[in-house]
């Protein structure tokens, strides 16, 4: 447990409001190293329940790295070391007692490139519930699959071909299938790593609409290169630069009255 006293008592250079009233994830003084190289420098931020927060910043600024720290996907990289504390519901996720399997069941992830399993649409969605034992019967599993596909707005398009390969769908459909796969295990938080960067504008619009819908039930952290996208879908925005969290705040405020010079330069298109 992270003691309450020092949660909001943290030294940070970040401008803006890093705290939130109803924090789901609390990150304090997070440093990330790839071998000798420091990718993330002293980042502290709260992520609230049922909020959509976007991470923006130029390429290589560490926003994806930071995102992957939140569900410990960086564990798969041997040289990656994480310092500081990240807690989910006040429990340190890097604690030895925490099993990454349960953590990732709570924090789903959607990747940059749609990556459905080379299996049927049904199998793609059913895989998570199956390995976590979330359903005790075929009917329950069918129900989960149907609901997840409905929630991801894919049901009407695929209900007649659930047994056909997931990789046969279009790029946008594949990405929505990946979202359905993520929400099938009933997570609390969904991390999205540039989910629309490989998609055309129409597919992107669909996914954005979907993210807005999902924001009512889940906390969503989205990394994006598109500032318009960040402005359209997120309530809060965090600007990263060279591994540092420069500014955090209400999306409106960040895009209209950024306090920091670098943030202003980036959103007005002068760097990045």
């Amino acid at each position: 447990m992270v003691s309450n006293s020092n949660i909001n008592n943290v030294k940070t250079k970040t401008i803006g409001e890093i705290f939130s009233k109803d924090p789901k994830i609390i990150c304090r003084n997070v440093d990330v190293f790839y071998g000798e190289k420091q990718a993330i420098k002293d980042v502290s931020i709260d992520i609230a329940s049922r909020e959509i927060i976007s991470f923006i910043g130029p390429s290589g600024c560490g926003k994806s790295t930071f995102l992957r720290c939140l569900n410990r996907m960086n564990d798969t990289i041997d040289t990656c070391k994480v310092k500081g504390s990240i807690s989910l519901d006040k429990e340190d996720i890097y604690d030895e007692k925490i099993d990454v399997v349960t953590l990732r069941a709570k924090i789903g992830m959607v990747f940059q490139k749609p990556n459905p399993f080379p299996k049927s649409i049904y199998e793609n969605v059913a895989y998570g519930p199956k390995i976590h034992g979330l359903s005790s019967s075929k009917e329950e599993l069918d129900f989960i699959v149907e609901n997840s596909l409905k929630d991801s707005g894919l049901w009407e398009e695929v209900k007649d071909r659930l047994q056909s390969p997931g990789t046969g769908l279009s790029g946008g459909q594949q990405q929505r299938l990946c979202i359905a796969r993520a929400i099938a295990v009933s997570p609390e938080i969904i991390l999205m790593d540039e989910p629309c960067s490989a998609l055309d504008p129409i597919a992107t619009a669909k996914i954005e609409e979907l993210i807005n819908q999902l924001g009512k039930n889940y906390s969503i952290v989205i990394v994006t290169h598109s500032m318009q996208q960040a402005a359209r879908i997120s309530q809060r925005t965090a600007y990263f630069h060279l591994g540092e969290l420069i500014e955090v705040g209400e999306t409106k405020k960040i895009f209209t009255m950024p306090e920091d010079k670098q943030t202003e330069a980036y959103i007005s298109g002068r760097i990045g």
Partner: protein, 434 residues
Amino acid sequence: MNKNNSKMLTADEASKIVASSVIRRRKKNARLKTYGRIAIGLAVSFLIFLFVSIFSKGIPGFFQYYVTLDVFLDRDRLDPKGDLSPESLYNGDARSIVLESLYKVIKPKGRKEKKAAKKIISSNADVRISKMVLDDPNILGKIIPITFAVDDDIDSFLRGYIKRETPSSERRINDKVIKFVDKLSAENKISYKFSDYILTGSASRSPEIAGIKGAFIGSMLTLAVCFIIAFPLGVATAVYLEEFAPKNKITEIIEVNINNLAAVPSVVFGILGLAIFIGIFGMPRSIPLLGGMVLALMTLPTIIISSRAAIRAVPPSIKDAAYGIGASKLQTIFHHVLPLAMPGMLTGTIIGMAQALGETAPLLMIGMVAFIVDIPGGVTDPGTVLPVQIFMWADFAERMFIQKTSSAIIVLLVFLILMNAAAVILRKKLERRW
């Protein structure tokens, strides 16, 4: 950008220079293409030469000369005890019955001519009669036509390898025998047909009845043992090295050594097997179990290397996807990585097994070169394998073994081609194109 103060070329100048170099570059391309074609042409012509040579020698090896005789199956002589038991038949005098029917045709005069006549029919003739009687006792007491393989020297003579013009003293068969063979030919008693022995017989010193069945079964058993040991071990090693092993000095040393092992001459594995399996564990020699174990040692590096390559080729995005929804490492490997890597791993394994199938040297070391007539019934029965059989036959002096050697090579090649075809089909079948 322009440190040495030279001017940038204009677009015109640049395109002229490019145009002048294009011809040179095109010529280089054409030259490389020609070299490639020459190399492939050479390789193909060698292959054709090999096939023509082996098939022209080997195909006749599948056929042999037979002599058909009307044999009176005398009950008293064939079955002295009268109970039709194998021992009784074994004790019977089938040989004299065969010779009697032969004499009826060629009518030899005197002891010397009879001695010569005895050389015509394969020594296996009596076994053949005993078997026929055992299969169907009703034929006893009747006169029926039976075909017998002719002796290998007669076979070689009929094929023209032993020439009539050669002086009698330098021939393996004398004038009297030739006279009898001519007589048999004249009476239409001699026929040339598909051999009863090459595919179903086992090792023998008499080439006319030698076959590859024993060696074939030995090869199958050895390969089965080899696969059962090498495939799981190899895949497990590959999975560990790719997915679990920490990247440190020890892992590196292990990796380098596995790669080196793949290049170690196979005979060294034979010596290792001799020293460890026979020397220390005291396993019996010449058995397919031991052969399979030695070949497994030899194939392991191949399987490990190809399995690792196959595992590495699985897109990381699939692994990310599995980890992302909370699959454990084991689930990720078994549900996603292994199914996707399986075609590659199987291909590598089959190539390794094909290599093992053709291996001779390590098996010589562990005594699989023994002359074994019995067909092995299990992995612990002494036996030999196809390449060793080929090696042994190539060493024998009799003319007929030259054809038999090529025939055995054809069988081995067909076996190999079938295995490779299986690899291709498996890969096509298991490969998920979606």
